[in-house]
Amino acid sequence: MTAWQVIAPGLLTTVQDQGRTGFGAIGVARAGALDAAAAWLGNQLVGNDAGAAVLEITLRGPTLRLPGPASIALTGAAVQARFEGTALPMQRPVQLPAGTLELGAVSGGVRSYLAVQGGFGVPQVMGSRSTDLRGGFGGLEGRALRQDDALPLSLPSRAMATAPDWPGWWVGPEAIVGAAGAPIRYVPSTHGLATQLAQQSWRASPSSDRQGLRLQGQALATDSGSQLSEPVAPGTIQLPPDGLPIVLLADAQTIGGYARLGHVIAADLPRLAQCGPGQAVAFEAVSLQQAQAAACVQRARMNRIALALRARRS
């Protein structure tokens, strides 16, 4: 089986797919790409199934040695990409011959995605190839990439490029998730402070990670610290005793004991995943009906993109 060699791992590079479902009752997190829209688009651009495994790149990318030609796509936040001296573009299929792919700084967000035709071929664990960092399984041995790792591909490459090549068109992230600066929409819970979230300005804390986006700002005056532990989900907005909310992300634990202010709507989780340290985050309260309408709009956009890309390939 073909494998890429990891020459430098980047800051936190993990194998992710759409996540692991069906194991919440035994405490297993969903995991999966944090910006699921970007991972989906990457797979579409190279002609993969939506469930193929991609690399999630955090803030600084890896350097990878490709032993043969490959068809790749870079999506999500912009990442500096060079292949044997040639700068590569984002958001479109790119044909590469054998050589060294150097990914550098990520800008305009936190997370970039590298999809390859066929997908990365790490073994499925509990139905998914996603890395569960807290559980220590899935992906490549349950951890981020390290130097000298061999990153297996699922299929031998069909690509035949002798030089980097790409089309003149591209599909931007806003085509799926909308404008980057728009407020993050959430459905407030019945908690007394739930609507207060939208009245204040917040910033993303540098201590945020794949488990949760921590907010900085004026602490909400909370009296009830902990409550009876209940299930939580990616998107749940927790209010710990210090009054600084945490929005849970894909690596969220399955059960939590903090008060909750509601949940971020599914359509806006990809944009939330791109909020970098210190970045302003504004929230807007919406109804459950509005959340479902937004999800419908997003599914329709994705269907149109999938159809258009299929038409270009045929």
């Binding site: 919440g24 035994i26 405490g27 399984f137 949940h263 959340a291 479902q292």
Partner: protein, 228 residues
């Protein structure tokens, strides 16, 4: 507040609350509802997560379409009516535990804090009839109901950065088992040689919510040569 109540947990998840206390009866109802819904297996069902007194249902919103949460609430309330907690006792699982010494670093301090001999703490902890109230915090971590209330111990002021895998511990009025090494703030009484969670196994988790658990004391030699 009157129970049961339902609340949107996510665009694709609904939370059913049966109460807001840790009680054996409430917990048994949560397990019964979860089991009834899993058995009914509606085509939109993605995951069911029971906790102490609540159940989360994750669903495929695209399959359900408009009013997904209301439809799921209906199914949950039907499961609640049909669920029979008395018929759904989980399996009985015996967990061998080597108490004290290097395997239970807090046993001595805990016995002192409770003002009882170490042997009595071991005997009373192992005599308990426990139920897996829920699994969470980490993959495979069981929160066990049924701890003798007089054995309740406050959590450590500063959590340990390294708790050995298999540690059996008390935190507040609860007892549990750490499936994997990592940070943790509960008082470590002993350690089991049994692997609680192995993602490579067909059934990754030894315990399921609702299972009953009995601790069986073993000595250090038996721990070292486990399985016997």
């Amino acid at each position: 507040m009157s129970f049961p109540v339902c609340e949107a947990l996510a665009d694709d998840a609904l939370l059913l609350r049966l109460g807001e206390r840790i009680e054996v009866d409430l917990n048994a109802r949560a397990h019964a509802v979860a089991a009834a819904l899993s058995a009914a297996a509606p085509p939109w069902l993605v995951d069911v997560v029971p906790a102490y007194a609540s159940v989360a249902v994750f669903f495929d919103a695209a399959v359900l379409g408009d009013g997904a949460h209301a439809q799921v609430e209906q199914a949950l309330r039907a499961a609640l009516r049909s669920a029979a907690p008395s018929d759904t006792h989980g399996r009985l699982v015996e967990i061998p535990v080597c108490y004290g010494g290097p395997h239970g670093q807090d046993l001595q301090d805990s016995a002192q804090a409770l003002e009882i001999p170490e042997a009595e703490l071991i005997q009373r902890h192992a005599a308990g009839q426990y139920t897996v109230g829920m699994i969470g915090f980490a993959p495979g971590f069981p929160y066990l109901l049924g701890l003798d209330p007089t054995l309740a111990l406050p959590r450590l002021a500063t959590p340990r950065t390294r708790v050995p895998a298999g540690s059996v511990a008390i935190g507040g009025a609860q007892t549990g088992i750490y499936p994997r090494g990592g940070a943790g703030g509960w008082r470590l009484l002993g350690r089991t040689p049994v692997t609680l969670f192995d993602p490579a196994r067909g059934q990754p988790c030894l315990l399921s919510p609702g299972d009953r658990v009995r601790f069986v004391p073993i000595d250090a030699a038996a721990f070292d040569r486990w399985p016997p």
